[in-house]
Amino acid sequence: MAFKKKEATADLTDSSAVMKARNLQQTAARQRIAHICGKTMTYTFLLLMALIVIFPFYFMIISSLKTTEEYRRSVPTLFPMEFKFANYLNVFTDKDFQFWTLFRNTVFVGVVSTLLSLVITVFSAFAFARLEFKGKNALFAALLGTMMIPGELFTITNYQTVNDFGWMKSYTVLIVPFLVSVFYIYLLKQNFMQIPNELYLAAKVDGTSDLKYLWKVMIPLALPSLISITILKMMGAWNSYMWPRLVANDDAHKLITNGLRGAAFVDELGNTDYPRQMAAVTVVSLPLFLVFIFLRKYIMKGVSRSGIKG
């Protein structure tokens, strides 16, 4: 057989794996070139894609610095000919765009709905991941099934519902209807499932209550996922548009995206003053962007830990 001592050595001597000294250098050089080529290709690809991906962002920022006239040019300029920082000043001083009010409303709605949503998600995910009860799998499958339905059609009925509840034009109507996200429950459940069940059993043996166990063990271990959910939820508050416009578009409760798309930045003829709008969009995106940069590590961990396995 090939693996008997003698034959093996014989095999090896005429195999190409045995290299003459000059071949060695050639191979070494070749592999160096291959390595450099590989890296170059990787970087070229990544940088090219990055360029494409970042372009709209760049465009948003340069547009926010252009004059209206320049923006309207039919061949868009890739760099502002003159910087109009006044566009930014305008964001904070514009009477139609009550930046601070909008900002405060959005932050309030975002924070409160995130907190409540986290509580609900944690409890639900815990029940699904750790507790046994009848119909658990069926219920979970049904929940996942709801993700497949085009949610737009809920609007009519939900509008009626919140109106019957008398929630119109309140923070409640902005917060409550969308507190439960099946996706978040799913994400967190997966994360919880990866925490060894022995920990739970050990806690039970020690007489730790479920709540204490959740608080002391599950939550710290699932922190990255929770942070991801927090960010997704905050982004939701930041970008929500249709529903808030419908149910709470009064000045006291208006959210920031509605402010952006509303009457502000529109002149008398209904034409949008894009540079000013872009400046506002940039300012509005900034908090999210910063949050993302600072918490990037956790978001990455959160997703990788959820280890989306069936």
Binding site: M1, A2, F3, K4, K5, K6, A8, T9, D11, L12, S15, S16, A17, V18, M19, A21, L24, Q25, T27, A28, Q31, R32, H35
Partner: protein, 364 residues
């Protein structure tokens, strides 16, 4: 294939950005692995043994130094061009492939004139599987195998492309005690059968000693000693090696050499001609004690453990660096378990003395 490491050094940049402290994983490491031998790289965790193995494999590049396979300088060669087989600590079997696919995988990478026909590949895979005795399991997935079986698959996968050098990273650490014994014999057998130069890394001295042709003891990236297992055991070059090898471990005392005699406490226990007067550290192998009623070294008896063939006597002594002293003597010797103390004579070749500062061996 002989493997030569020449002044191999590996420095890792510091992980902690602030401190800027570099980590020297392997420091100026040189030795030669003779053709067809099984070599155990031995040392406590963090000693650089795995790094050394990885540098031989080509997965890591040395910071300086050279590696030769035979006469070929392979330092600059990347791993796939070195013709090595590597078995990972946790086997790294592809979980989505069957045993057969796992074993075939390396063969499918061959190109050019090395390219094999389908039949040849299967033939090779089968004989490799046979060699490690897993030919019955070819269609299973790794998660359907026991640890020992996975280990064999990993070895088969490493062997199937007929490497010039086989490298094993902690091959037994994931196995239970019984399997460990069995598997290390297996490794020995396979190595013998194939005659492939094999290097394996372990922190378990017993494992290394039991199957290696040669062992290499490392500490903090520095080579301590190379040799046949028994030679190293019998002749450790320093306190570290002495302490690291042997179960139960060597007993260490504070002692002194005075006028050509070795003193432990007040007792002169051994003649040490030609050794200058100094404070020393004394190492005595457990089997280096002989019960004698008028022995030179008196220890307080605390416990006697009868282990069948041998008896292990646990004692204490004020000069001992360890809490207890453990000696192993023949079961035929009667020990009075009610006595408060025992007296020993020492076998000179089982006693090593070391410089107090440098911990280097002082020969006598």
């Amino acid at each position: 294939m002989k493997v030569v490491l020449q002044n191999l050094t590996k420095i890792f940049p510091s992980r902690d950005k602030k401190s800027n402290q570099e980590v020297v994983a392997v420091n100026d490491f040189s030795f030669e692995i003779p053709d067809g031998k099984l070599i155990g790289l031995l040392g406590p965790s963090g000693c650089g043994k795995s790094t050394t193995l990885y540098m031989i494999s080509g997965l890591q590049k040395p910071t300086s130094g050279k590696i030769f396979f035979g006469d070929d300088d392979v330092t600059e060669l990347s791993t796939e061009n070195r013709g090595i087989g590597l078995v990972f600590q946790n086997y790294a079997l592809y979980p989505h492939m069957t045993v057969k696919q796992n074993i075939l995988f390396p063969l499918e990478n061959l190109k050019g004139k090395d390219k094999l026909t389908k039949e040849e590949k299967l033939e090779r895979a089968k004989s490799a599987a046979k060699l490690v005795q897993i030919d019955e399991l070819m269609d299973r997935k790794p998660n359907e195998l026991s640890g020992g079986q996975q280990q064999r698959v990993a070895i088969a996968r490493a062997l199937v492309k007929m490497p010039r050098v086989l490298l094993l990273d902690e091959p037994l650490s994931n196995l239970d005690a019984r399997l460990r014994l069995q598997t290390r014999e297996e490794i020995r057998r396979i190595q013998k059968e194939t005659g492939i130069t094999t290097v394996f890394v372990t922190h378990d001295q017993e494992e290394a000693m039991s199957i290696s042709d040669m062992i290499v003891v490392m500490k903090l990236g520095v080579l301590q000693q190379i040799g046949k297992p028994q030679d190293v055991y019998d002749n450790p070059v320093n306190l570290f090696v002495a302490k690291f090898l042997g179960t139960p471990p060597i007993n260490v005392f504070n002692g002194a050499v005075k006028d050509g005699k070795l003193y432990i406490g007040d007792a002169a226990v051994l003649e040490t001609p030609g050794v200058a007067d100094q404070e020393v550290t004394v190492g005595i192998r457990p089997e280096g004690f002989e019960l004698e009623a008028d022995g030179a070294l008196e220890c307080q008896l605390s416990n006697v453990e009868v282990m069948g063939r041998d008896v292990s006597i646990v004692t204490t002594h004020p000069a001992s660096c360890n809490v207890t002293i453990r000696s192993i003597i023949d079961a035929d010797c009667k020990v009075d378990v009610t006595a408060t103390s025992v007296r020993y004579n020492l076998k000179p070749h089982k006693v090593f003395i070391f410089n107090k500062e440098t911990e280097e061996r002082i020969y006598f």
